[in-house]
Amino acid sequence: MKRLQVDIRQRRPIPLEVGLHCGRGELLALVGPSGSGKTSVLRCIAGLHHPTGRIVCGGEVWLDDALGIALPPQRRRVGFVFQDYALFPHLTVLQNLMLACRLPGERAREKARRWLQRVHLAGLEDRRPDTLSGGQRQRVALARAMMRDPDVILLDEPFSAVDQVTRRRLRLEMAELKRTLRIPMILVTHDLEEAEMLADRMALIHRGRILQQGSPAEVMLRPVDAEAARLVDVRNLFRGRVIAVDRERGRCRLRWEAGELEAPWRESIPVGATVDWCIPPAGLLLHSRRRPSRGVRENPVRGRIVEIVRFGGRAQLVLAPVAAPEKRLHLDLSQHVVERNRLAVGEPVGVSLLSRFIHLMPPRRR
């Protein structure tokens, strides 16, 4: 079974303490702010850094400091796509690919041509890297990484050096390629949208430690704590106190600055505990001004609109609750909803914080 298991620690150049795994055909996104150690993890896996710990790929031990094993990069079958692609500037596209292949001349050439076709670059064989566009360079780097028949593919911010239109196309191509590959893939990115689009699993990394691993939806909607929530850009993040618990129904009453809420209860949270809680913008229901709908009685909050940002047919609404005007509630709406309800900055509105979307995070044990 080709499965990558990584368990590493290092102090320098960047402190790391990371445990993660990635299955066959699985794409794991390593997400975190810049300087969090994402790239260092990739470099450790590739053998460019030398941490302590253990790295096993498909039953082959690449690193085990207890056994004194530390294979050099040449002997780890990785395909590495560098952030700026690191194409060899003095070689043609075809030569770039052929160099990464151990096959004898003619067969290497044939294989390189096949890969160029797969990444839609047929016809550019004899071009030098400096005559290619950003998107083309990225495809060459990807094809070169594949020429080794890698056991794992490592992608270091592969879409950061291209414009937005190209990025969108390259992501689609990556999703397409991913479906055909049967090896672990690790994608380093600081772009949450990208991780959500491409990843099967996501690992949130901060200051060299993994804060949370799980499906993108889980990591984005159910962060383990306030720090993780901030890193995945949770906009509706608040503090509150659990004042009552209904164990049977699995619910609790939560008091926060703008009133009281009913929320799902988790076993680990006692009555009286101070918790961080969050709710995605999609969990906020706008009360229609003309026809009150069914949800109006669920966790109602009155507020005043302080900001409306429109883009691409959608609108972001920012509310200040009447009971806590310094707090901000974010919700996303279709633009026609904004228009139909004649929403404008300064207008009072009512929203419901749908209970099932509320996520409580137990206070951090330090």
């Binding site: 050099p72 990069p73 990785v78 590495f80 560098f82 060899f88 500037p89 003095h90 990464a100 080794r148």
Partner: protein, 217 residues
């Protein structure tokens, strides 16, 4: 024109360049990519011939080459001749004297290679030796050419150290530069002028060639 002296100069330059370039490649790579204690000292020692008077360098080389000193004794025992006032001694002196002219361009060239390119080579499965031949050397080509031309021309025009270590033995240690000095001492200005003009033209072309290479990069 003292063709015999020109022959000695050419032979000296050829030998020096042939032995110097591999040494310089090794040193330049070391200085470009490795951090090690004593790096600063090594860098300074390599650059020293640029600022040291040739007579000082020549003096210390003479001391080293003396059959009483370990190096001189070893050479005496293995070859039966002395290093002082011999062609091999001259080559050895030239190696030291021209070292910075070979190392500096190579060092600059290696430093200009982005580290990711070497890492990309390793991650493409290329071992250190293949990485050197396929990536590092081709990318440092301009620096290599500069190193070659500069150290060749510099050896050709070398005077002070040659005079100190080699003396002035026709056919063995009398180089073109020494021959010019010799002619001036003998008031043979016409011969000195011809040889000087020749060396001037040659050096000018060499330096222009280096600039042309640097500009193309």
């Amino acid at each position: 024109m003292d063709w015999q002296a020109f022959g000695v100069s050419l032979r000296l330059a050829a030998w020096t360049v042939a032995l110097l370039l591999p040494m310089a490649l090794l040193l330049a790579r070391l200085l470009a990519w490795r951090r090690f204690p004593g790096r600063l000292v090594l860098e300074a020692v390599i650059a020293l011939p640029l600022v040291l008077p040739p007579s000082v360098l020549g003096f210390y080389l003479l001391v080293l080459f003396n059959p009483g000193a370990p190096l001189g004794r070893w050479f005496m025992e293995t070859t039966g001749t002395t290093l002082v006032f011999s062609f091999p001694g001259l080559v050895l002196a030239s190696l030291v004297y021209s070292l910075p002219f070979a190392v500096q361009p190579l060092l600059r060239a290696f430093q200009a290679i982005p580290p990711q390119l070497r890492e990309a080579a390793w991650c493409s499965g290329l071992g250190p030796w293949r990485t050197f031949w396929k990536i590092e050397l081709p990318l440092a080509r301009g620096g290599l050419l500069s190193a070659l031309v500069l150290s060749f021309a510099h050896t050709l025009g070398e005077f002070g150290v040659v005079l100190m270590v080699g003396g002035n033995i026709p056919g063995r240690t009398r180089t073109l530069a020494v021959a010019i000095y010799d002619r001036v001492q003998a008031f043979d200005e016409a011969a000195a002028g011809r040889m000087s003009l020749f060396l001037l033209g040659f050096s000018l072309m060499a330096v222009m060639a280096v600039f042309a290479v640097e500009r193309r990069r």
